[in-house]
Symmetry: C2
């Protein structure tokens, strides 16, 4: 297909999202201007509006895409007992988050910059993830494998602990990813089973 010089929709669209994600994660949604995003993509600011109706929609799309990818990864949850499933969840959560730091970060930090409608949808998706974790804890509790006084609180505590990894882990650091996963699994296992 013949195409005008400077027309690169298939490349430019993803690049806009990529740069926006990076810049939002680094400086925060409110602190990043459309001009700044455009500059990093190699466009004038006005041209961004070919790819997003406005700045808010750009943020929302990035956050929703992140959550949808996180949730679709849950389809690989292995069959088996709650203990095996919980270990898989711990490792999946840590490794997915570490390989998608920017997405994780904006989903944490930018909730308050969403419109009310968009906020509701992202919170809903987050709830689906929390429910998936809690379902494992409930199953283990019912079979007497776990000793958990409150499965919802335990769910939030486990997720919070695992989220913490992203704040300090460095690939060049002292501990390998496998070791970090393993130590966290040990702590989570002991926290929910007492053994």
């Amino acid at each position: 297909m013949a195409r005008k010089a400077g027309s690169h929709a298939e490349i430019t669209g993803p690049k806009v999202r990529e740069e926006a994600l990076r810049l939002f994660a680094q400086y925060g949604y409110a602190a990043v201007s459309m001009r700044q995003i455009a500059k990093h993509v190699g466009l004038q600011a006005g041209a961004l509006y070919t790819y997003t109706p406005d700045k808010q929609a750009l943020l929302f799309d990035l956050m929703r895409d992140h959550m949808q990818k996180v949730l679709s990864g849950l389809e690989d949850l292995p069959e088996g007992g709650p203990v095996e499933q919980l270990e898989w969840m711990v490792r999946y959560h840590i490794s997915y988050n570490l390989s998608h730091k920017d997405g994780v970060f904006i989903n944490y930090m930018e909730l308050r910059n969403l419109s009310e409608e968009n906020h509701l949808e992202i919170s809903r998706l987050r709830g689906v993830y929390e429910d998936a974790v809690e379902a494992i804890l409930i199953a283990g509790q019912e079979r007497g494998l776990f000793q958990i006084p409150d499965t919802r609180l335990a769910t939030m505590a486990v997720i919070a602990m695992l989220n913490g990894v992203n704040t300090w882990y460095r690939e060049s650091g002292r501990l390998s990813l496998e070791r970090v996963e393993q130590i966290h699994w040990n702590m989570v296992r002991r926290a929910v089973t007492g053994s």
Copy 2:
């Protein structure tokens, strides 16, 4: 002392800080304007500069004050064994954070909006807190009370888990503060001792 009408330094100064803290926590530093702060205090924007050299200094002062209060609370750490000290830390962390939500929140969210120099100082203060927690874990490890493969990782994991409470706890909710503290202490104890 006679005083001009509208002169209220002793009242206005704290009120500026109070409103700034509230607004920064609610909307984010970058999204809040000096005009907005002034309006909530009952001033014109220019008058704010009687109380802070600029917006950045206002943020930094709020964050530093929060960390200094958190750290000065550590002076009440009871003498005794590592297990008793760790329980105290868990309860202190949860209850202090829940009673100073806005301060906790901006110290989490606004690090990236600090100048490099200010960022260094806040990170240093945070490090002092982390070191205090780790010292307890190290003491327990040395006495054979804890079984922790890596005390630094365990420190970060415990702090992350406890920080999570602020994201979901509501006073009007299902669980009392005491119960939340107690359940978390149980999980932390089991995570570090395996019993």
